[in-house]
């Protein structure tokens, strides 16, 4: 920190004096990562590795907060940092030299783009809404140091367990490939800016992922997975819970191979909490990211909706990057400071259905001049506004059983042969840009038909959800009273960032599915090799 601070000040003062155009702001962002992976399949370790590295990201702003080199032009997303590797030893000579080199490189890029911006905006008719908006918000400098725990963790102990668990999949002969992977990472983030911000903070991530794939005789691919995330390895699931999950996936895939194919259907459905989590993240979460409201190439679904209803009135949505645990699980999306050095804080995005604000970085948007601590980035990217922990609360809550009963009532009311229960969906992606269809894609993996007459649920395969975002949201009828946690990684213009969604199961009046375009290629031609040596 001292090494970087003095190099930051030295570069800034000389550049202020001699450079043309001079920078008005420089930040140094160092991410120190200590990570590892251990993966097993069919009883043997397939991947193992540990990795320590430090990256330096230098962001330089030239011009003025009113108009600088980050100014958005036709959807172009400028990047000035190049993420240089730093030695893991605190050597002043080595670190200062790399910081100096990167500052020079980043300033050159910033100076060049500032001139492009200045000439480009003279050619454009001013946009009434964004013309007076500055490019960089004013924030008070922050300081803070939060220690990052060093957990006792032994990959060796896990290695034997992963091997044992991965061999359970061998009992399920239709499975083609399967994998159990444990990833761990300790992150220490250091952020310094010429405004005087000095923060250091971080956290640990432990992630256990169990997945398996199979292929039907007709070429249809089926997949199932379970994820467990924890901040402390002591809170990873117990051995029995993992074994149960492995068997659940094995049984589920075997059943999916025999399940009837989905038919096109429009009607009521329940989304489990973790399925609803993906929906909220994709359909809703990406559309409340502030920078999209200013980028002319974006759809700006909610840009003019502040103060207006965007969800049923019994729903409220918060983004709370200060929340570390919810519903008995550790959350992926918390942090102490965002990647622009702004302290994290809880933000009420939707209150009783009414949109209150957006997730904001230091890029001001109409009506919202300040950051609310959501500028995030993967090392190597410039921060933009991103999701953190998205928390959906409902005042129309019923027990899970009652929610099922409501679904049956809705099936009868709509006079449908059945309703749907989405237990598991894949991570999805969403198109928010204007050119796109403003649609989202979430691939349902495990879906059941639910019958009004109380017959047991019927597993189906190959369902594909069709629809547009806003429509799906107006049709939420009720939620369960049991929030569930979905932890994941969200990839967008500023790279991958860890996120969470906390949401109960939701009942929607109408969802539309079609049959998934199936792959037709054959599964393995030869039978699997025998499991016991010989």
């Amino acid at each position: 920190m001292q090494i970087l601070a003095s190099e930051l000040e030295r570069n800034f003062s000389i550049l202020r004096e001699k450079a043309d155009p001079p920078p008005y702001y420089i930040s140094y962002r160092v991410t120190d990562l200590d990570s590892g992976t251990l993966s097993a399949s069919m009883g043997a370790i397939t991947q193992q590795g540990q990795n320590r590295r430090r990256n330096l990201d230098v962001s330089v702003r030239a011009g003025s907060p009113k108009l600088d080199n980050f100014h958005l032009l036709k959807g172009e997303r400028p990047r000035f940092t190049a993420s240089a590797a730093l030695p893991v030893e605190d050597s002043a000579a080595a670190i200062a030299r790399i910081a100096w080199r990167e500052t020079d490189r980043s300033w050159r890029a910033a100076a060049q783009r500032l001139m492009q911006v200045q000439s480009a905006i003279r050619m454009q008719a001013p946009d009434a809404e964004t013309a007076d908006l500055p490019d960089f918000s004013e924030e008070a400098p922050a300081s803070g140091f939060a220690g990052v725990p060093q957990h006792r963790f032994s990959p060796e102990a896990w290695s034997a367990k992963l091997k044992k668990w991965s061999l359970i999949f061998a009992e399920y002969s239709p499975l083609i490939s399967s994998n159990i992977t444990l990833r761990w990472r300790r992150e220490v983030r250091t952020f310094l800016s010429t405004e005087g911000t000095r923060v250091q903070h971080g956290r640990n991530f432990y992630h256990l992922e169990i997945s398996a794939r199979a292929k039907g005789y007709d070429g249809n691919d089926v997949t199932s997975y379970e994820l467990f995330d924890a901040e402390d390895p002591a809170r990873l699931p117990a051995d029995e819970a993992v074994e149960k999950a492995v068997r659940r996936i094995g049984g589920q895939l075997t059943a999916l191979l025999r399940a009837p194919a989905a038919e096109p259907f429009v009607g009521p459905a329940i989304l489990s909490g973790r399925a609803a989590g993906v929906f909220f993240h994709e359909i809703f979460g990406h559309r409340i990211e502030g920078h999209r409201q200013r980028d002319e190439t974006e759809g700006q679904t909610f840009a003019k909706s502040a103060g207006k209803p965007v969800l049923p009135e019994f729903l409220s949505v918060y983004s709370d990057p200060t929340l570390r645990r919810a519903a008995g699980a550790d959350l992926n999306g918390w942090y102490d400071f965002d990647d622009e050095g702004v302290p994290a804080r809880k933000v009420t995005v939707v209150e009783n259905g009414i949109l209150k604000t957006f997730l904001l970085s230091r890029l001001p948007i109409p009506g919202f001049p300040r950051s609310n601590g959501h500028g995030r980035a993967q090392p190597g990217f410039e921060p933009v506004s991103r999701q953190a922990n998205l928390i959906v609360e409902s005042s129309r809550q019923v027990s899970p059983d009652e929610l099922r009963e409501l679904l049956r009532t809705e099936i009868r009311r709509q006079n449908k042969p059945y309703g749907l229960y989405f237990e598991q969906v894949s991570g999805g992606f969403t198109a928010t840009r204007r050119g796109g269809a403003q649609a989202f894609t979430v691939i349902p993996l495990v879906v059941y038909r639910v019958f009004a007459d109380g017959r047991p649920d019927e597993l189906i395969r190959g369902a594909d959800i069709v629809g547009t975002p806003l429509a799906s949201f107006s049709k939420i009828l009720a939620t369960s009273n049991r929030p569930e946690v979905f932890n994941g990684y969200c990839g967008a213009e500023s790279g991958d960032v860890p996120v969470s969604v906390v949401v109960p199961a939701v009942l929607v009046a109408e969802i539309e599915i079609q049959r998934k375009p199936e792959s037709k290629d054959l599964g393995p031609i030869l039978p699997r090799p025998p499991a016991e040596g010989r």
Binding site: I14, K18, G43, T46, G49, N51, S91, A93, A94, R108
Partner: protein, 593 residues
């Protein structure tokens, strides 16, 4: 167990004409199959894969290549280390051929493409668990078969509307081999190397003008496996270690200058002593520092002397890649394929060097004048034992380096498959290339001739080159600029690494280092007119990775090569200054060291 091995070998060999197996060899194979789970899993799954014909195309040949490797790497700058890395990896490269040797699925741009779902990971499990190994091989061979089937159809379709001038077969026959080395690992002292790399990188602390510098050490060792359905079984120890140094700075006029060096060894435990490594690091530091103060070179056409290892470097660069020959992949008519043909294609039987020069490629040589050679290997990637080849005899090109992909004018593979390549075809490369001259003269006399040549044509100076940037230490950006300049300069040809140490030699023998020079269209044709060679031989070792200019760090698969050459004098070569705008020097001076 023993019995099982016997049966297996019989079934492996049955695919080809079962030779009269030598009982000693059979016993050796059985022993290996029974004690080596990787080999056994490979043999069992390859045996099963031969029966793959569900889609109506039988497998006529299949092979599995795999490496069982452990690697260690550590880097440092100015005495501070980046975290050391230790990795285990077992990359897997299966290949299935359907059709027939006359026409199969390889050698087309579709050869590596499969449109269906992929279940294999491209690697073997890291443990010797036969079931897990077989499971991975089963999925890999299944995809290889489907890829082959799909490629064969698309290749046939692409050729439907085309008349091939002289169709060539797709696969040359080869004799199966059994080579089974006993796996053995050497000890690599991670802590000692980390310390050594830190100390070596600290050498640059004495050179404050150098803006970026680094020293990296990498060692990789393990076992390479190869088996095919013709009965070849190969297991060899495969090791390599290298220390890589790089330094860069910006001259006062803004020109970015860099230099680098590598020291390699086929035995990680026998790298040269630290003193020798330190000399290499110091030389790099001295070179860039001297370059920063050197005047800019000017356009030049005239005699050029490659002195010392620079002569071996220029042979390595120009002949190393051009002596190997692969065919242009089949594509739909009208589609352009970015594959550079060898400059020596179609030149068999023609003179490519002076009559008094030979080129001999000798993979069996382990050392030269007491110094280890980097190009030694027992068996190539096709499972073929290479032999010594006189590639150029009395100046005439006699043969080229071949793999099992048939090429015009030659009649079989000569064991030079050294790099994995695209389209189901491997890439041929040199091993230990000896440049032999029957007429030589002393190095001082070569220099004298150089000066006289310059005088005779009225030039103020001649050029001596003592080091080139091959394999290139440049960034991708440097490479792009060089390629762009080579394209613009109108001289044609492939880009050739720039000289690093080029000197003007004046009539009185005085030397002056110049910077920023590039060769203008240097290619094999210039070598025909080499005027003279020195009487001392110089060795140059390097790692080839198949990338343009063998760009350092560009490929994940490297192969060692050595070139031994005398200094050589060219009557006329062209050099030109690097063009392009120079970046301004930084506004902020560097921090103190």
């Amino acid at each position: 167990m023993k019995h099982f091995g016997l049966v297996l070998f019989a079934c492996l060999a049955a695919a080809a004409q079962p030779p009269n197996p030598d009982p000693a060899v059979v016993q050796k194979v059985n022993a290996a199959l029974n004690t080596d789970p990787v080999l056994r899993a490979m043999a069992e799954e390859l045996g099963r894969a031969k029966s793959l014909r569900a889609l109506g195309e039988a497998v006529y040949f299949a092979e599995i290549s795999a490496d069982d490797a452990e690697s260690f790497s550590v880097g440092a700058t100015l005495g501070a280390a980046f975290a050391p890395q230790r990795n285990l990896l077992r990359p897997l490269r299966p290949l299935v051929r359907v059709g027939s040797p006359r026409f199969d699925n390889t050698g087309s741009i579709f050869s590596d493409f499969y449109s269906g779902s992929r279940f294999d990971t491209g690697a073997l499990p890291l443990e010797n668990n036969v079931f897990a190994l077989r499971h991975a091989l089963w999925l890999a061979l299944d995809r290889a078969y489907k890829t082959a089937y799909e490629a064969l159809g698309r290749k046939a379709a692409a050729l439907r509307g085309v008349t091939q001038s002289e169709p060539m077969p797709d696969f040359w026959p080869a004799t199966p081999v059994v080579v089974l080395e006993t796996p053995a690992r050497v000890r690599i002292d991670d802590a000692a190397w980390t310390q050594r790399v830190k100390q070596l990188s600290a050498v640059f602390a004495a050179w404050p003008a150098i803006t970026a510098s680094g020293v990296d050490f990498q060692a990789s060792q393990g076992v390479s496996y190869y088996i095919n359905t013709e009965g070849s079984i190969v297991r060899t120890n495969d090791r390599i270690a290298f220390l890589h140094v790089r330094a860069a700075l910006q001259a006062a006029d803004g020109m970015l200058l860099y230099d680098g060096d590598s020291v390699e060894s086929l035995d990680p435990a026998r790298m040269p002593p630290e003193e020798e490594l330190r000399r290499a690091v110091e030389a790099v530091a001295r070179n860039v520092d001297a370059l920063a103060r050197a005047p800019l070179g000017e356009s030049y056409a005239g005699p050029v002397l490659f002195e010392g290892p620079a002569a071996a470097q220029i042979f390595a660069e120009v002949f190393g890649a051009n002596l190997g020959i692969t065919r242009k992949p089949v594509a739909e008519p009208g589609r352009t394929i970015p594959v550079l043909a060898s400059e020596l294609e179609g030149r068999l039987g023609l003179r490519v060097l002076p009559e008094w020069m030979d080129l001999v490629d000798d993979p069996g040589a382990r050392e030269f004048q007491g110094r280890p050679l980097l190009g030694f290997y027992l068996v190539d990637l096709d499972g073929i034992r290479p032999s010594r080849l006189t590639v150029v005899e009395k100046g005439v090109l006699k043969t080229l380096l071949t793999t099992r992909q048939p090429v015009r004018g030659l009649d079989g593979p000569n064991g030079r498959s050294r790099l994995p390549g695209p389209f189901g075809v491997k890439i041929p490369r040199i091993s230990n290339l000896f440049v032999q001259a029957s007429h030589t003269e002393s190095e001082p006399s070569l220099r004298q001739r150089l000066i006289e040549l310059a005088k005779k044509s009225g030039r103020e100076y001649a050029i001596v080159i003592r080091k080139t940037d091959f394999p290139s230490q440049g960034s991708l950006e440097d490479l792009r600029q060089q390629a762009a300049q080579a394209g613009r300069s109108g001289a044609g040809g492939r880009p050739v690494s720039a000289p690093v140490l080029a000197y003007r030699v004046y009539a009185d023998g005085r030397e002056e280092l110049v910077r920023g020079l590039r060769f203008r269209g240097l290619g094999t044709r210039h070598f025909r007119d080499i005027l003279a060679a020195g009487d001392r031989l110089h060795q140059f070792d390097y790692l080839d990775n198949g990338a343009p200019l063998a760009l350092t760090g560009a490929g994940s698969y490297v192969v060692g090569c050595s070139v031994i050459s005398p200094s050589v004098l060219f009557e006329e070569l062209e050099l030109e200054p690097a063009t392009g705008d120079l970046p301004k020097p930084p506004v902020v001076p560097p921090p103190p060291l």
